[in-house]
Symmetry: C2
Subunit: 349 residues, 2 copies
Amino acid sequence: MLATTIHAPGDIRLEEVPDPHVLLPTDAVVRVSAACVCGSDLWRYRGVVPVNRPGRIGHEFVGVVTDVGDEVGTVTPGDFVIAPFSYSCGTCVNCRNGVQTSCVRGGFWAGRDRDDLPVDGGQGEQVRVPLADGTLVRTPEVPDDALLPGLLALTDVMGTGHHAAVRGGVRPGSVVAVVGDGAVGLCAVLAARRLGAERIVIFSRHPDRQDIARGFGVDDVITTRGDEGVEELQTLLDAPGADVVLEAVGNQDSMEQAVAAARPGGSVGYVGVPNGITELPMRAMFNRNVGLAGGVAPVRAYLEELLPEVLDGRLSPGAVFDRTVPLSDVGEAYAAMDRRQAVKVMLRP
Amino acid sequence: MLATTIHAPGDIRLEEVPDPHVLLPTDAVVRVSAACVCGSDLWRYRGVVPVNRPGRIGHEFVGVVTDVGDEVGTVTPGDFVIAPFSYSCGTCVNCRNGVQTSCVRGGFWAGRDRDDLPVDGGQGEQVRVPLADGTLVRTPEVPDDALLPGLLALTDVMGTGHHAAVRGGVRPGSVVAVVGDGAVGLCAVLAARRLGAERIVIFSRHPDRQDIARGFGVDDVITTRGDEGVEELQTLLDAPGADVVLEAVGNQDSMEQAVAAARPGGSVGYVGVPNGITELPMRAMFNRNVGLAGGVAPVRAYLEELLPEVLDGRLSPGAVFDRTVPLSDVGEAYAAMDRRQAVKVMLRP
């Protein structure tokens, strides 16, 4: 089969690799219907995170089950399934606590699983899925292509934006500010609106992303950032900050801005993978009672709740995909996202 | 009147100072019935925090109102009152949000108030109380001396321990670990029990403090700390950590221990004033979804809820005071706490 590999910063290839098979009785094999490129994939593409050796890449995909191991009970060949960006057993203490990203048996795509078997990446034609029962969630029927973007968003960005909103404590009436206008930040807008936020402000300097944000229910856009952006927020809200700030970038500046944008007693829900954050503004957090909660999102925990809403059209995160290309053009997909010519690119094998 | 002053590390004096008077129409004057020494006072006493110039000290007191300004409406001379460790207007946005420590008009004892008038410290015979209506909470009648320790605990340590538990998210059934066995950590035990924690473990190496902790409802004591202590906790709980960790120390080691002691998806409620924390364990927090919330406790926000329970005996935090001395022996009070010969010393003017 064909699968995407990264060999060095900027060097993305579509290569012939061995077809996946059921190797363990808890495995399933999924033929990928749609995959995509994540902002975090760009870190290796840009050389911000080193590429130590050539390897598979991609962790977001939906598709159809083609084979299952003897111990798999919840999905069967022919089922359309959503695969969260990590696989998990569903039964260990951390899975039961709803933190499937800390599953004691699980792991991440394009890595290695518990028997030191390589695990496929998501940007390929097929994927061997370990711990299929704990990982995959099936839809009642194979969905129309029109639903693919929304379903694909559930594999990562929508669940991650939702996690920021949940852990940040968004509730009916909350005033929310969003730092980061990538796909996760945009989905955080949608999640905050869904949880009943009264007013949502996004920091964004990109007109195309502002448009998506408005479509997702944002009330105000602030185009400045840092201290200037925080002052503009306070003036706009006529308040010492937002009740909840959703942080979806993960660098030092964005984290400082997020903490400063929260009102005393407020909180920051953060899901931007920390990258180069050398120091949290601890004193400001303590003196102003600003809490910080979040982390690598256990999107599997939210699938049962969010999937029905995507299927019946109440929740439509698919607009974050502003371009679709065939898998054969995966290099172009990376380049478009790297140059900010696309928010998020869907790949069709 | 007599009031405590600090001149240099280790140099605590009781000195004659001017009697306080109503200077602003929102002021009250309180004759102190009982005051005490705080763990945070010891930082200057020990030279950990510099003593830039001689000045008043102390921020915990209860007493009887002797005079009020024309605009004071909620307390009158003769009322017994609890004074939180910060004063606050009660009407600004932050006070209305329950974060009185961020009051836009308020401040801290032994500092200066909005007109650059000196504010008395709590360890004296009398105190001028700015913003009396927003700050002071009266009891229905002047309480018996036996209630003084419990009421005095409401000025800081009990409200602070409660804040850790509230912000950490302790709820019925929570498994809680407490880092820090000073008066705040001990009160955090009491607060966690009151909020319905199912099991409470404290890290403590001091038998006298362990005894108080057991009296407050702790189930288990761990005498090791750091990684060893965390492993012991995990073994004891047969779990990857506590649901909620209450941090009541505020240094690098205690914060790292607190984050490590929380299970994936758990949280740390922190109220230890940060001192020498150079770096939060950000990666561990993110990868394990451990939240961090807390800060300088708005104890005023909790007085209406906690005071009736202290008055009727349901809540008895007074046991944190294991020594009482006359105000004239304030130097001895500091020395006893510095040498860990006392958990917390009550001063009687």
